[in-house]
Amino acid sequence: MPAAGVVTILAVVLIVLALVYYLVSTIVALRKIADGLDQVIASVGEIVEKSAPVNDVVTDINDNLDAAVSALEGLLVKKAGMRDAVGLVDGLYPGAAAQGLRDLPESREVTPPRIGEVYTRGTLTLARLGREAPIAMGNPAGPALRNPAYGSSAARTLYAEVRPARSPVIGTDAPVQYEEREDVGRPRKRFARTKYV
């Protein structure tokens, strides 16, 4: 056999060996990929199976909560009136009055009253006396105006500097005025005498 023939056979053998090596390696890699994809498919199947009822359940929960919100808003408006209801909601969640009540679009046009004037007169009285009333403690928009857990520091703000360790200064000269009285400077109200028979 001529030398050229030997070289040709050698070249062909080399090419075949390279093909075998790389193709077998590729097959091994593809089998790993197939195994990994089998695991992925199994996990994705579990995800699909587990998440299948979520839509219906969440929709049902939302429907129930929507019904509850509508009923409570309606009850609030019925009992407190539109203006006070909006004021109460705005007092609990500052700025919520702009959004209004969900089922009552006309509530967006209501100017919310100061909730302190409407509902928390007694609470503000306690605050004035340093009783640490938890005003707006559950307000998600920010911390409580008065923190009952650290009440002493808040209470001290009610005392005038010249009167330490004494009763809080209340009245018209108090350093902190929580609400304005409409009857200051006017004649005292006198109630009509009731006739008992």
Binding site: T8, I15, G36, V40, L65, A68, L75
Partner: protein, 88 residues
């Protein structure tokens, strides 16, 4: 005979390197996919495990129903107890 040698040279110096280069590229690409697939499998398994709690949604659904029913009962009672707002 000269052409034969030229053919051998082409086979060894051109065709064999090209074949090796191309096959090597295919092998690298295939090997590059394996870690990605393994990561996807891990993430999918973790996602599936995270969804184990979705069964609790049925409990939540039931409790929401009970809560709303309770709220409705309280609302009905409040509606009876409290006077309606006065018309201004």
């Amino acid at each position: 005979m000269t052409l034969w040698w030229i053919g051998n040279a082409v086979l060894l110096l051109a065709i064999l390197p090209v074949v090796v280069y191309l096959l090597n590229g295919v092998l690298k690409a295939a090997n590059g996919i394996v870690p990605s697939v393994n990561q996807i499998a891990t993430v999918a398994a973790a996602g599936s495990k995270d969804l184990d709690a979705t069964a609790l949604l049925l409990t939540t659904q039931d409790q929401v129903r009970q809560t709303v029913a309770g709220v409705a009962d309280y609302g009905g009672s409040l509606d009876v107890i409290l006077d309606d707002a006065e018309e201004k």
